[in-house]
């Protein structure tokens, strides 16, 4: 038998020790020893890493904040732009709604021809109920043309320039509209006032007037076409010893929020003043 050389024996002992250590490590018997060795190392690593990251942040974070501030400003600008676009779109939507309503109204009365106009101002005097619209004689607007919305009667053209017109509302103190009750054959007048309230006047005492009755233009007098909604009776003033009864009227149109109107283009107003002045003279 060949004797074992000392070198081979030494190598076998080393392999045995290494395998033994590996076996002990895998089995968990070396954990306390490894903990004692590794803990200081990990603590040192953590301490150094924290310091390094602090220094790193000190030099790099301001640049990031600046970039973030810039990005934030860009995003804020974008939000502002988008909000502005939303407001513009909402505005356009409202205008489109108004125009669609006016278009529906125009389609419901195909015999009339209309000019759509935007309201661009009001009379500076608080005593007068006038509006300014953005269409004038260049667009075919003429003195006396009736002005309506999809809700009802607005007034009539009182003054015209090339590019704008002034409309006298039916709530003006100088406005008088001949009306008829929707459900009864009775004529009366709707009169404006300086406060903008409108009243029903000159209605025969025999007419049975009720709250809620609808008033339409009668077409008498030749200033307005017939059958346009004017308003609704809200309060009746009836005194036995007066010739006529009167009533407060709620106009169909909200004049304070008026934004767009239709001018009836093909209605010819009739000037009956020579007839009435002749009657007066007799």
């Amino acid at each position: 038998m060949k004797p074992v050389s000392p070198g081979t024996l030494r190598n076998a002992v080393v392999v045995f020790i290494v395998v033994g250590i590996l076996f002990l490590a895998v089995s968990g018997f070396l954990r306390p020893i490894l903990g004692v060795v590794m803990d200081p190392f990990v603590a040192a690593q953590r301490w150094l890493s924290e310091r390094f990251m602090a220094v790193y942040d000190f030099f790099t974070l301001p640049r990031d904040v600046t970039a973030l501030i810039q990005r934030n400003n860009e995003l804020e600008d974008e939000v502002a732009n988008l909000q502005s676009q939303i407001i513009q779109l909402q505005q356009q939507l409202r205008e489109a709604d108004i125009l669609y309503s006016l278009l529906d109204y125009a389609r419901s009365r195909p015999a009339d021809q209309y000019i759509a106009a935007a309201v661009i101002g009001r009379d500076p005097s608080p005593f007068l109920q006038y509006i300014i619209i953005d269409h004038g004689s260049d667009d075919g607007v003429r003195y006396g043309m009736p002005v309506v919305t999809q809700q009802g009667l607005v007034g009539r053209i009182e003054a015209v320039t090339a590019s704008a017109s002034r409309v006298q509302l039916i709530s003006d103190s100088g406005s008088t509209v001949n009306v008829t009750l929707q459900n009864q054959n009775a004529d009366a007048l709707v009169q404006g006032s300086i406060t903008g309230d409108i009243t029903l006047e000159m209605l025969n005492q025999n007419v049975n007037l009720n709250v809620g009755d609808i008033l339409l233009t009668s077409g008498l007098g030749g200033n307005y076409p017939s059958d346009i909604l004017v308003g609704q009776v809200v309060d009746i003033k009836k005194t036995e010893n007066e010739l006529f009864q009167s009533a407060y009227v709620q106009p169909m149109v909200d004049f304070k929020t008026l934004r767009a109107v239709l001018v009836i283009k093909n209605f010819q107003t009739t000037n009956i003043s020579p007839l009435t002045s002749g009657t007066t003279m007799q």
């Binding site: 101002g121 009379d123 500076p124 005097s125 005593f127 103190s173 300086i194 406060t195 903008g196």
Partner: protein, 167 residues
Amino acid sequence: MIANYICIPVMFVLSVLQSTVISRITLINGSADVVMLAVAAWGVKEKGFNTFMWALAGGLFISIITAMPFYIPVGTYLFVAFLAKILFGRIWQSPIFMLIIVVFAGTIFGHFFSLFYLQINGAAAGLMAGLQNFTLPSLLLNFFFLFPMYVMISDLRKWVLPGDDYE
């Protein structure tokens, strides 16, 4: 030179503002009159007669827009300019107090002038109803806009007439 004609663009802008924005801001039936406020604010600091030009320019621009006859706004603003001219330097040397008096008197004068015209033309315009529904709310709104207008006109004066300020 520029001080003599600055009233024209300013009054143009204020007339448009009055028609489009201010006349929609109402209290009961009253509304502020920024053109009159501008005339008054310029008048309380003006030693010469330039305020009358402001009144004329404002009156003419407003008369283009309003359905009132031209002599109502022109007359009202000339009255305000005249009152400012009379009172200049007489009330405790204080333009602010003088401005309040001028605007107060100008508003009442303008409203009575308008009511008088409407009554002559057959409108049912009662004096008490006019006072309650129009004049008092308008006075309140005029006082609300008075100080911003005074500050703006004062700055404008400093710009067009440097060194000619009366405090």
